[in-house]
C-alpha cells in the first residue's frame, strides 16, 4: 500500500530535478529497488501509472532494476547472494559473521529527459 507514497516521492524528485535543470518532460525513469526494501515492483508500477497523470512524467515509463540481497562473510572471506529477503547466517559457512551489502536500495539511478 505504501508504494503510492514511494511513487509520489519519486515524482517529486523527478519534477524538481527537471525544473532545476530546465527539462520539459520525462520519457523514462530507472530505479533500483532492493529485494529487502519492502517495496513490491508490481505494486510500484501500478502506483506510478496512477500518480504520474497530469505531471511532467505523464508519458514516462518506469524501469525497475531489482537488487537481490547480498552480503560478505568475514569468516569464509566470501561474498554471497540469496533469494530470500533476509539472511540469518552465512549461506556458505553458517556463521553469523557477515554483513549485508545490498538489498535495501530505494534509489533513482537514471532518467530520460527532453
Amino acid at each position: 500500500m505504501h508504494e503510492v507514497s514511494i511513487a509520489l516521492g519519486l515524482l517529486e524528485f523527478a519534477a524538481e530535478y527537471c525544473k532545476r535543470e530546465g527539462y520539459k518532460g520525462i520519457e523514462a525513469i530507472t530505479v533500483k529497488i532492493g529485494k529487502a526494501s519492502g517495496v513490491m515492483p508490481e505494486a510500484l508500477h501500478f502506483a506510478f501509472e496512477a500518480v504520474k497523470v497530469g505531471t511532467i512524467a505523464e508519458k514516462a515509463c518506469l524501469n525497475i532494476d531489482e537488487v537481490p540481497v547480498s552480503g560478505f562473510c568475514s569468516n569464509c572471506n566470501k561474498s554471497f547472494t540469496v533469494k530470500q529477503t533476509y539472511v540469518l547466517s552465512c549461506p556458505i559457512c553458517g556463521k553469523s559473521s557477515f554483513r549485508i551489502e545490498t538489498g535495501q536500495e530505494l534509489n533513482i539511478c537514471e532518467m530520460e529527459v527532453f
Partner: protein, 214 residues
Amino acid sequence: MKVKVVAQILEANDRIAAENKKLFKESGVYVINLMSAPGAGKTSLIERTIKELYKKLRIAVIEGDIAGTDDAQRIESLGIPAVQINTGGACHLDANMINEAIADVPLKDIDLLIIENVGNLVCPAEFKVGEDMKIMILSITEGDDKPLKYPLMFQESSALILNKIDLLPHINADLAKIKNNSLSLNPSLKIFEVSCKTGEGISEWTSWLQSLVA
C-alpha cells in the same frame, strides 16, 4: 537524453525527518516511533508507560490512525497532551505529517514524545519521521512466524516489546523462536516481555526508556 542521477527515492521524506529531528533535539525532546500490527497493544503500552513515568518525565503523544480520535481521547484522559493525526487512508505516518502536527505539541514543556504509528507491520518501517529510536511491539498471539515474514520492521527497530505474555499458557506460540529469529535479524535488538493487562515486565521497559531520555 539520458541523465544519470543518484538519489534516494525517499529523499524528500528523509530531509523533512532530519528537520523534525533537529527541532526535537533543540527542544531537548527524546522521540520514539512506536510501530506494530493493529491490535498488538500500542495504545495500551503507552497508557502503561505514562502511568509508570508521568512523575519522572513530561510526556506528550502523537496518535496516528487512519480515522477516528479514540486513541487520543484515551491518552488525554490521563492528563497527557495528545495530538491525533488522521491519515485518511495512508497506511503509515511520514515525516511531513509529523512536521504538520509538531505545531500542536508543547515541545518546550516535555521530555519525551511518543509517536504511535498506524497499525501495520510493513509500511511504517520504511518512513523515518525524525525519531531518536524506533520501537516495535509484537503481541505473542500474532504467531511466532512473524519475524521472518516481516523482517524489515524487526531490523529497523531498536527494541522489541513482546506483549500479551500472560496469554502464553493458552497459545501455541514458541517464545524462544520469536526471540532467536528476531535477534538473528537484528543482533542488537533489545527485547522486553510484557503484559499490558497484568503489568508484568512493564517496569523493566520503562526503566530502560527513562535511562535513554534522561
